[in-house]
């Protein structure tokens, strides 16, 4: 094994034409050249090649050496183009492409990773929620209502409304029945928000609260509810969200955490999917808590209004029949707690003996169920 090559000594930009030979003990490369002051000796086990090199016919050698550089490598480079020598190196030197890590690399990774995770976790789970709570409290009521109207409008468009209010149901008799139900629930107490409950003509079985006291009930929920008590229970739950300012806090927190997550997952293909999944997961942990609190609020409100909290359980039972419950790991991604848990809690909250008067009389209940009938 012997041949010509070029050496860059790592000290000057000169290009040395050199001869490469094996040492006598066959354990090192000896590099000699007219322009070199003394022969350079590189032990064979320390030889390393540069990876992902564009020219497969040559090998650029360096050697493993503890330097202050980014990798523990000698700054000198030996460019080998002699085909025999290239083949010999590939054949006899299995460690050419070894990655050499400095001592303590694992500790450095663990330290930085821990630091970054702690910073992100502290932001997402402590600082942003606290800030969102404070800011939600500071937001003037009229601004919050205006924001809520924007959110509601967006939701309506999402449900297929061509223009604002196009899907609103307001048959007068149904409207009056709904107002009577809300009045009975709130019992004249001041919620801190002007409640505005509306019904939208959509077959989905759902209801939601937007910021600033806006509650929207979808027609599908009225269709599927077995009794007026069930609708009252759902309303009480949504009023709970309103009083706790959940929608506003949610919007503020999401604004902070989405930007932050985009930063963590970066710009790679599929990164957006990761951001959405992570946001869902974080959001779920908060909203499950918010849902449980809204349920609790609903029990108290229902009992105060002389209605059984078990009506909420009836609603969840219908949900479970329609869609099934979330089980296993998927439960962490769901925005609501498990239905089975909520049904048990609602039943447990119901007093044994209640003098029960339905939330609406038969005529009113019929009127509410047909609130969307003569629309448009």
């Amino acid at each position: 094994m012997k041949g010509n090559a070029h050496l860059y000594d790592g000290q000057s930009a000169a290009r040395h034409a050199v001869q490469v030979d094996l040492s006598e003990d066959r354990n090192a490369l000896v590099i000699t050249g007219d322009s070199l002051a003394a022969p350079v000796v590189w032990p064979l086990p320390d030889l390393r090649a540069l990876g992902d090199h564009a020219d497969p016919s040559q090998i650029v050698l360096t050697r493993h050496l503890d330097t202050p550089d980014e990798s523990p490598r000698d700054p000198a480079r030996l460019v080998v183009e002699d085909p025999e020598m290239v083949a010999w190196l590939h054949r006899t030197r299995p460690r050419l492409h070894r990655k050499d890590l400095r001592d303590g690399t694992g500790r450095r990774i663990a330290l930085r990773l821990g630091g970054a995770l702690a910073a992100v976790a502290a932001m997402i789970f402590v600082i942003l929620p606290a800030l969102a709570n404070t800011l939600a409290g500071l937001l003037p009521l009229d601004k919050e209502i205006a924001f809520g109207q924007g959110v509601k409008a967006q939701m309506e468009r999402f449900l297929g409304a061509s223009e604002l209010g196009a899907l609103d149901c307001d048959a007068p008799a149904g409207r009056a029945a709904l107002d009577r139900m809300v009045a009975r629930l709130t019992g004249g107490q001041d919620l801190g928000y002007p409640l505005s409950v509306s019904v939208i003509d959509h077959k989905m079985m759902n209801a939601f609260a937007a910021p600033g006291g806006q509650i929207v009930v979808l027609r599908g929920l009225l269709d599927k509810a077995q009794s007026p008590d069930v609708v009252a229970a759902v309303l009480a739950h949504e009023i709970g969200h309103v009083v706790h300012r959940d929608p506003t806090r949610h919007a503020l927190r999401t604004a902070g955490s989405v930007g932050l997550l985009g930063l963590v997952f970066g710009d790679f293909t599929g990164g957006t999917v990761m951001v959405l999944l992570a946001e869902r997961l974080i959001n779920a942990s908060y909203s499950q808590d918010a849902e449980a609190k809204a349920d609790q609020y609903a029990y108290d409100m229902l009992i105060a209004a002389g209605l059984p909290p078990s009506a909420l359980a009836e609603m969840f039972e219908t949900f479970r029949k329609e869609f099934g419950d979330v089980e296993g790991p998927m439960a962490h991604f769901a925005s609501h707690p498990r239905l089975a848990t909520r049904i048990d809690a609602a039943n447990a909250a119901s007093p044994q003996e209640t003098p029960h008067r339905p939330a609406l009389g038969t005529a009113d209940w019929q009127a509410l169920r047909t609130i969307c009938k003569d629309r448009g």
Partner: protein, 407 residues
């Protein structure tokens, strides 16, 4: 190649090799949920750097994936706190000031209010741009000698903000001033071994490179004026307006590319190393645009074939299922086609990125390298090594802020 005291740049990379490298590293990035991207970038740079050759010696990229990963983690700590706070506070003030948009004007104002958060990031973005260039230079070697750049990222960030503001106020008329001064700031702080670079030339010389931008603007203005005076639909004025506006627009876009290519050429021709070594660069705008168009055409052709194949398979598998049935719930039979569709979509994206690298980025780079000449190459032998730059964040800020471009 060297002829006498001149050395011409030379680029030997192959499209196929780069494509497979980018495809494999892209897949690994996907499988590792994005973590491998630091190693992917490193490996692609190693290939590209080692493809460029000057006077018979190849360049070398010595950056490592590990240091990029660690630098990114460092940047995350700073930016997480800063970004999270800025975004939530701005959103709050956006709500407070603008509330719900009632009119399109208000919606626009609100969007503008929210994009202030991007403005709050501007200093960091410029900071990251300088740091990224410093890192790239610090990890580039030629003949075993390190390139390098002084630590001056904040100085760059403040100047860049100032020049951007000037450019904005002057409606773009001072763009050459910004281009020149910012490049000079970076070049004058760049080194090869112990030899310093210097940017010479005058900023006013860059106005000539804006020629095609001005022609495009004038054409569009002419078309607009003609349109304003149209009285009868089939007149000469109508024809003028219909022709001049789109022509002007295309001309303007070409003008912007031309400005960038020719500014690079001018600025390179007026760089000096050690006061002795000069450079000559003659990239052709037509070649750059042509490469871009041809590359995009081939790529979109290949992609549409791939999409048709994947889409066809998924459609075939879905066709047996009745998805329109009322109250259709989730069926197990839907899983394979959905998985195939998502996987196919992500694979196509990765292949598209790898293809763009091999068919567009690399050929353009090849053109730039091959049209570069170094004058007085022999003086390079006097240059000696410089100290290693630890490069604290190793592009971490640039990565976190999604700056960086193709390579």
């Amino acid at each position: 190649m060297s002829d006498g005291n001149y050395a011409h740049g030379d680029y030997t990379g192959h499209g196929k090799a780069l494509f497979w490298l980018a495809l494999c590293t892209g897949l690994l990035t996907l499988l590792t949920l994005g973590i491998y991207r630091f190693w992917a970038k490193t490996r692609i740079r190693r290939y590209i750097w080692s493809s460029a050759r000057l006077d018979g010696s190849r360049f070398e990229y010595t950056g490592t994936g590990l240091e990029k990963f660690l630098g990114f983690l460092l940047a995350v700590v700073f930016l997480a706190v800063y970004l999270g706070l800025i975004q939530i506070v701005l959103f709050y003030f956006g709500l407070r000031i603008f509330a719900a948009p009632q009119t399109p004007e208000q919606a626009l104002a609100q969007t503008a209010g929210f994009s202030v958060s991007a403005l709050a990031l501007m200093p960091f973005i410029f900071f990251a741009i300088y740091r990224a260039r410093r890192y790239k230079l610090a990890r580039s070697r030629w003949r075993g000698i390190r390139f390098g750049m002084d630590k001056a990222a904040w100085g760059y960030a403040f100047r860049a903000l100032g020049y951007w503001l000037l450019t904005l106020i002057s409606l773009g008329l001072l763009t050459p001033l910004m281009t020149f001064r910012l490049e000079k700031y970076m070049t004058d702080r760049s080194w090869f071994g112990d030899a310093q670079f210097e940017q010479q030339g005058r900023w006013t010389a860059l106005y000539a490179k804006m020629k095609h931008i001005f022609i495009g603007l004038v054409l569009m203005a002419l078309g607009g004026t003609a349109a304003a005076f149209i009285e009868e639909p089939a007149s000469l004025l109508t024809m003028l307006a219909v022709l001049a506006i789109p022509t002007g627009l295309v001309w303007f876009v070409i003008g912007v590319i031309s400005y960038r290519v020719q500014c690079f050429a001018y600025l390179t021709r007026h760089k000096m190393l050690m006061g002795k070594i000069a450079f000559h660069a003659q990239p052709r705008t037509a070649k750059v645009i042509g490469t871009y168009i041809v590359g995009s055409l081939i790529l979109s052709l290949l992609l549409s074939v791939a999409v048709a194949v994947f889409g066809g398979i998924a459609a075939l598998m879905l066709s047996g299922l009745d998805l329109t049935a009322p109250d259709s719930t989730f069926e197990p039979g839907m899983i394979p086609p959905i998985v195939i569709s998502v996987a196919g979509y992500l694979l196509t994206l990765i292949a598209a990125q790898a293809g763009a690298l091999a068919l567009i980025t690399q050929p353009i780079l090849r053109h730039y390298v091959q049209s570069l000449t170094v004058i007085n190459i022999e003086a390079l032998a006097e240059i000696h090594q410089r100290l290693a730059d630890p490069g604290a964040d190793a592009e971490g800020f640039a990565d976190a802020l999604d700056i960086g471009g193709a390579i």
